[in-house]
């Protein structure tokens, strides 16, 4: 055997050993991770013995896997906060067996806490504070050093010239950890400590002889302009003890038990994103026998859904989770959910508009999974109210959504006859160019010719020729040249005929739009003519809101209409009758979402290219090759930078148009009511001012970039007080 060959074989053997070693190591690490993360789950033996057993296993592995074990414990402290006491106990047990491991873990946690604060991950840093606080009960951390840590937090909340939200955070971090450390900290018996922990509490006495660690001194990182603190919250409350007929009593709103159980359940919602896992975790909540937990689960799910400004989870997750919960506990949860729905409906006129829309979307979606069966008769009162009152508006919007998920006949059959006025009309087109007896419709013959031509698969030129039989008004532009002005009749007859023919489905409509894209572009060459186009679409599909929404989405994406044209159309006289209806705002927020996404996308591309470029410069590419690739990416960066900046200013412009239109509209209304001597707070006004507020709520991240401009141009001291209040409420989210 040649030496080279032998060498190769040995090398192969060595590397396979290495591979084996690393794979063994990975296997052990994975096993450790699974053991640690799963402790505290359902098991045949007691939690105490499981913990003791695990501590023994970990002690044996500490010599080889100390860093890995501590890392996993750190992650559990942050990611599984609903099991905080399980892990602090485990750490306590480890500390009695290995003092230096305890010390390293405490240092690791402090370092993590500082890093989280620096990266604006405040919630995670709060979970560490809580973990450290509970470690005093396990005799891992010295009581006095925890007090010093609290002191430094309170010092940070007393600093001058920092935002309220910073001080709020540090106070909250201390207060929310007191349920864990309060008893030890205070001589006087405060409110009972969490009874959940009774079992573990007794067990903890085992640990009383352990040596404790001092926390290293900690100074919160200073406030900078880059700091983004958590937004202030309002606590969501739906149930009180009187809503619950039997079983264990619901802890009162101001009790620490209510806070702790809710906190635990809502963490489960944040950690378990799979609907089945999440439902199982909620239902398996380990202190369930002490609380009316079905009620608390439902309250927590709605609390997450109705959280402002954004839901705490993806909106559709809540509907999906509630379906799963009903499936898992069919004997209990559907009743509690129905009761909650009743209560929300009863309070709908006091509900924030953004929350009401989430309620509408959830409820209609939920009904579509239960054959639209509901005790509708109990809500018959809404049919006797004024149509603009909150309840009938709510029901009408729910039925609009139900219609989209089913079909018209189904709703007519399912709902009591008395609901008929609230059921949306059948979503068929209202075509203008139809053969009436009078036959007096202008351009009717043109429409007929167009339809024939479409059916005969005529070319674009042939169609345009027919269309040109409608003479267009001419106008002179500045240079004296005569050009064809926007021609409403031409747009109307073409768009109505085209879309009427494509009425069969979205796909038919989309392919009609795609086929005549160049002609549509030509007809809609000014913002004015784009607004005509939108008007004619609304006229044709006035009974099919979903169709209007998807057509406009398509027209924007294919650049047939611009975003500002859509906004100006929404605020135009023509749309006044629809102004308070949900679908209008679905369109408007859709426009803003597309714009925001485009900006984000361009920003990402730009960063990627810059990144690549700096990598190349650092690399060792040299000579001609280097020069070529460098200039290529140079111009690429420049080009991207330009489109990014253009998109950003387009986005800002869009928000400014919307806010300005709102100010004009609402101010006009207030002034005109005052001159007539009537109250301006009409149902229309109340809905419209909430729509203004919703712009700030749903797009707070974008709008917060424009505060300087907004204060100079739109929300200055001479703006109406009612509108200024809305703006100031928005500003206080970050103040």
């Amino acid at each position: 055997m040649s030496s080279r060959k032998r060498y190769a074989e040995e090398e192969a053997e060595r590397s396979s050993k290495r591979r084996k070693a690393t794979s063994d190591q990975a296997e052990i690490e994975a096993r450790l991770e699974s053991l640690i993360t799963r402790v505290g789950e359902k098991s045949t033996s007691s939690l105490e013995s499981n913990l003791e057993g695990l501590a023994g296993v970990l002690e044996a592995d500490l010599s080889n896997y100390k860093h890995k074990i501590l890392e996993i414990l750190c992650i559990c402290a942050i990611e599984l906060p609903e099991k905080v006491t399980v892990y602090t106990t485990l750490v306590g047990l480890l500390n009695t067996k290995n003092y230096s491991a305890g010390e390293e873990l405490v240092d690791m946690l402090i370092k993590q806490m500082r890093d989280y604060m620096k990266h604006n991950e405040w919630e995670k840093s709060q979970r560490i504070v809580r973990f450290l606080s509970d470690l005093i009960n396990c005799h891992v951390v010295e009581l006095s050093s925890l007090l010093v840590l609290y002191q430094s937090f309170l010092d940070a909340s007393n600093e001058e010239g920092v935002p309220q939200v910073r001080a709020d955070f540090f106070v909250y971090a201390v207060l929310s950890s007191l349920p864990w450390s309060g008893e030890e900290l205070s001589e006087s018996k405060g409110p009972d400590l969490d009874k959940l922990l009774d079992r573990i509490d007794k067990y903890i006495s085992l640990l009383s002889n352990a040596l404790q660690h001092a926390l290293p001194p900690f100074t919160p990182p200073p406030h900078t302009d880059e700091c983004v603190y958590p937004i202030p919250r309002v606590v969501f409350r739906l149930f009180d003890a009187t809503d619950i007929p039997e079983g264990p009593a619901l802890p009162g709103s101001n009790t620490i038990n209510r806070y702790l159980v809710e906190d635990c359940l809502s963490r489960i919602l944040q950690v378990y994103l799979d609907r089945k896992d999440c439902a199982a975790q909620l239902v398996g909540f380990h202190a369930k026998n002490r609380f009316p937990y079905h009620y608390m689960i439902i309250e927590v799910v709605f609390s997450s859904l109705f959280n402002l400004p954004d839901p705490a989870n993806l909106e559709v997750f809540h509907a999906s989770l509630l379906l799963e919960l009903c499936k898992l506990q069919p004997g209990f949860l559907p009743q509690v959910l129905a009761q909650a729905t009743e209560m929300l409906y009863e309070r709908v006129e006091h509900m924030n508009l953004t929350c009401m829309e989430r309620f509408i979307r959830w409820f209609s979606h939920h009904l579509s999974n239960f054959q639209f069966r509901w005790s509708w008769d109990e809500w018959i009162d809404c049919t006797e109210k004024e149509p603009e009152d909150a309840k009938p508006v709510f029901i009408h919007e729910v039925l609009q959504k139900c219609l989209r998920l089913s079909y018209h006949q189904r709703l007519v059959e399912t709902l009591p006859d008395k609901f008929e006025p609230l059921i949306p009309k059948e979503p068929t087109p209202v075509f203008r160019y139809i053969d009436e007896e009078t036959n007096q419709i202008p351009a009717l013959p043109i429409s007929r010719k167009l339809i024939e031509a479409f059916k005969a698969k005529a070319t674009m030129e042939q169609v345009e020729e027919i269309l040109n039989q409608i003479p267009g008004p001419k106008k002179e532009d500045n240079s004296g040249e005569v050009e064809e002005a926007a021609n409403p009749l031409k747009i109307d007859v073409f768009v109505q005929s085209l879309l009427f023919l494509g009425q069969k489905s979205f796909s038919h409509t989309f392919s009609a739009l795609a086929k005549f894209h160049p002609l549509l572009k030509k007809l809609g060459n000014t913002e004015e003519s784009q607004i005509f186009m939108l008007r004619t679409i609304r006229d044709l599909w006035q009974n099919h809101q979903q169709m209007i929404c998807v057509i406009i989405d398509k027209l924007i994406r294919t650049t047939i209409v611009s975003c500002p044209a859509v906004i100006n159309w929404i605020f135009s006289e023509h749309m006044r009758v629809h102004f308070t209806e949900g679908f209008v705002w679905e369109i408007l927020h859709g426009v803003l979402r597309k714009m925001n996404m485009e900006v984000t996308q361009l920003q990402k591309e730009l960063e990627d290219v810059k990144h690549k470029k700096s990598d190349e410069e650092d690399g060792e590419t040299s000579g001609e090759e280097y020069a070529v690739s460098n200039t290529a990416s140079e111009s690429q960066v420049e080009k991207l930078q330009e489109s990014y900046e253009a998109a950003q200013s387009e986005q800002k412009n869009l928000f400014l148009i919307i806010l300005q239109r709102f100010i004009i509209l609402l101010t006009e209304h207030i002034v005109s009511c005052e001159s007539k001597g009537t109250s301006f707070q009409t149902p229309w006004y109340n809905l419209s001012i909430q729509r203004l507020e919703q712009i700030f709520t749903l797009h707070h991240k974008q709008v917060s970039k424009y505060t300087g401009t907004l204060e100079n141009l739109l929300f200055s001291s001479d703006t109406d007080q009612n509108l200024l209040q809305v703006y100031h409420r928005f500003c206080s989210l970050r103040a």
């Binding site: 994103l273 799979d274 609907r275 993806l314 909106e315 559709v316 997750f317 509907a319 999906s320 379906l323 979307r361 979606h365 579509s368 999974n369 054959q371 959504k401 989209r404 998920l405 089913s406 079909y407 489905s505 979205f506 796909s507 989309f510 979903q546 169709m547 998807v550 989405d553 979402r593 597309k594």
Partner: protein
């Protein structure tokens, strides 16, 4: 054998990058509009292609659904697949992307 193995990885690669879903167990009467409404809850939809019967050219219980973003398709699998549309439990799965003629 070599060729089919190559196709396999190509197929897998397309699946990993895909933002298209196959949706099955639909009612024959379920329309594109209903599917659009339900799945829009997860994000903006690029297109829906209804599965059609070869002879009758009528819907036959499945469709392809393409999102603009893969993330949204993932959420559709997590939160919509396994729930009801037109009273039927519908099922979704990743699809490597629609190719003309697969209807």
């Amino acid at each position: 054998v070599v060729i089919s193995a190559g196709n396999m990885t190509e197929q897998e690669k397309r699946l990993r990058l895909s933002s298209t879903l196959y949706i099955g167990n639909l009612s024959f009467f379920t329309t594109e509009e209903q599917i659009h409404e339900l799945f829009s809850k997860c994000g903006d939809i690029k297109r829906i292609i209804m599965g059609l019967d070869k002879v009758k050219k009528t819907p036959c219980g499945f469709c392809f659904l393409e999102f603009y973003r893969r993330e949204d398709a993932k959420h559709a699998l997590m939160y919509i697949s396994g729930t009801r549309l037109d009273d039927r439990i519908i099922r979704g799965d990743w699809d490597a992307g629609f190719v003309e003629g697969r209807q």
